[in-house]
Symmetry: C2
Subunit: 328 residues, 2 copies
């Protein structure tokens, strides 16, 4: 076990009180020049490094943002992680990365976040029980749901305007001449999948265009398998709206493997605009999520709440945009 140098050691060598050492390193409160000089000399001699933990005990806050994530297999999330890490680094904050294996945040993950007294929490692709939310609220720790919208007004969440995107995608495919359409869902427990579907179906219903829906799971393999089942059993729809890109790539591969030509025989549109969507093998038409704007909004909210906690709950929806490539 390490024997780290503490403020106590510095105080002893300098012949001053421990609170004087604290004042010099953490508070910025006044100490006499003579005391300060003695403390700095002792700190120098001992190699004393005041750490964040010590700082947090005195200031009662940390510079750690907890980031809860599940699906790193979907390239959208590593991209999000990178952008948050970069943005928070500029503000002097670090990321505590919490990988959760379940749809819902596990009790031990919450324990970890509370134990480290994080300054804020970002939850991407996981759900959280209301009782859990209370624990953060009591501790005045702001929480943001990123790319998720919950069925309650208790949370602050930042996402793309998914209903509107679904509508625009329907209109786009109608303009391309598609006469019957299929929606391949993501995980149906998620707001993203449900809202994209809602906007999409709303327009098709208005325009009396045939609509089918197939359940899938937001993964490449899920998209591939779902498309293979449709090809085997159903008539081919004129166009597919697939709830995210990684799944749309699976759908494309299944269609191509079955000798179906895109965009001649059917059309495919995804959601996210991950890097791979632009690869020559795919050239997927998709809906771009405005990640930068979404990250910016989240960071601004958390920094405000850290400065002065208000517990503000709100849903912020940011507009994305259609990226047309060769699958439509």
């Amino acid at each position: 076990m390490k024997q780290a140098i503490t403020a106590k050691d510095v105080a002893k060598l300098a012949g001053v009180s421990q609170s004087s050492v604290s004042r010099v390193f953490f508070d910025g409160a006044k100490v006499s020049e003579k005391t300060r000089a003695k403390i700095m000399a002792a700190a120098e001699q001992l190699g004393y490094r005041p750490n964040e933990f010590a700082r947090s005990l005195i200031t009662n806050r940390t510079r750690i943002i907890g980031m809860v994530m599940k699906g790193v297999q979907n390239p959208f999330y590593p991209q999000v992680l990178k952008q948050f890490a970069t943005a928070f680094k500029e503000e002097g904050y670090s990321i505590l990365y919490v990988h959760t294996n379940n749809d819902e945040i596990e009790a031990e993950d919450v324990e970890t976040l509370l134990n480290y007294n994080v300054a804020g929490v970002i939850i991407t692709d996981a759900a959280m029980a209301s009782t859990v939310e209370k624990q953060f609220e009591v501790n005045k720790i702001p929480v943001v749901f990123f790319n998720r919208k919950l069925n309650t007004d208790e949370f602050y969440s930042v996402c793309c305007n998914n209903v509107d995107a679904g509508r625009k995608i329907a209109e786009f495919l109608i303009n391309k001449g598609a006469t019957d359409m299929a929606y391949i869902t993501g995980d149906e427990k998620t707001s993203t999948s449900r809202e994209r579907q809602r906007g999409f179906q709303e327009i098709l219903d208005q325009r009396k265009i045939a609509y089918r829906q197939f359940a899938s799971d937001y993964t490449y393999n899920g998209g591939y398998q779902t498309a293979m089942q449709i090809i085997g059993k159903e008539s081919l729809p004129a166009a597919f709206f697939v709830a995210n890109d990684i799944m749309a790539l699976g759908v494309l591969d299944a269609l191509k493997n079955s000798g179906i030509k895109i965009p001649e025989d059917t059309k495919v549109i995804g959601f996210d605009n991950i890097d791979m969507a632009s690869w020559p093998a795919y050239q997927l038409t998709t809906w771009e999520q405005p990640i930068e704007k979404m990250v910016e909004t989240t960071v601004a909210y958390l920094l405000n709440e850290i400065a002065e906690y208000t517990g503000l709950a709100e849903v912020v929806e940011v507009d994305g945009s259609l990226i047309e490539r060769f699958t439509t």
Copy 2:
């Protein structure tokens, strides 16, 4: 700013010394039953939660592992991050995720790791100056280079046996009848790219088989551009060994886009066995990195060094294996 409840508050309410509170919550050292009861009642009443920071000041250690990463665009690394987060969670450790934008760890990243008094550090795709290494050594913080081997014996590093893999890949392609071959490098500053090349070239030299080398950068776009340049200017080699999978997918797409048939006109083999390598659009033959074994080795080393610091420096190479698919 939050007013968290501290051990001092508990001590005051319970009418005992602060060190008694510390003993109850952190040390496990003896206090009388009567004192313990008073402290627990006060803690309960105040909602006191002893946090990791307080714990760390008393035990002089934390349960945070710093993880330094650059290339999250390469799906190999999110996979590695997930496995480390899962393995360390089981041991009660959390991951501080540090995204670095440079090839070399930046001074502020090192500051962060030292400020949080991390228990250990894992560095994946970044380099570190010797002077920086000293800072960790002085603080008895064990460091592991994961998937990197440095030109010094000062570090502990865990990687795949890259030289041997390069040799086996050469033999495999020779057995497939390839008579002249090209190696597309990753970032040439990395040991992984250089060692894969060394083993590969060694066998080709022995067997007097023509060898060419093209510099690239471990990214999809790099692989795509490098292949396009070769197609435009050079005769097509009988086989490509591409230093990682994500770049090999770029090479495959460039070849296919140019009407070149795989594996008839030329063959391609990658390295890593990322999920995408098995997708029907690619079906890439590759060398599987034994991630699980590599993660296990790294975790075991760090836990040992955390329990008792020895500063052991060693290179651990784990054997991978060839995964044959349809590009060879």
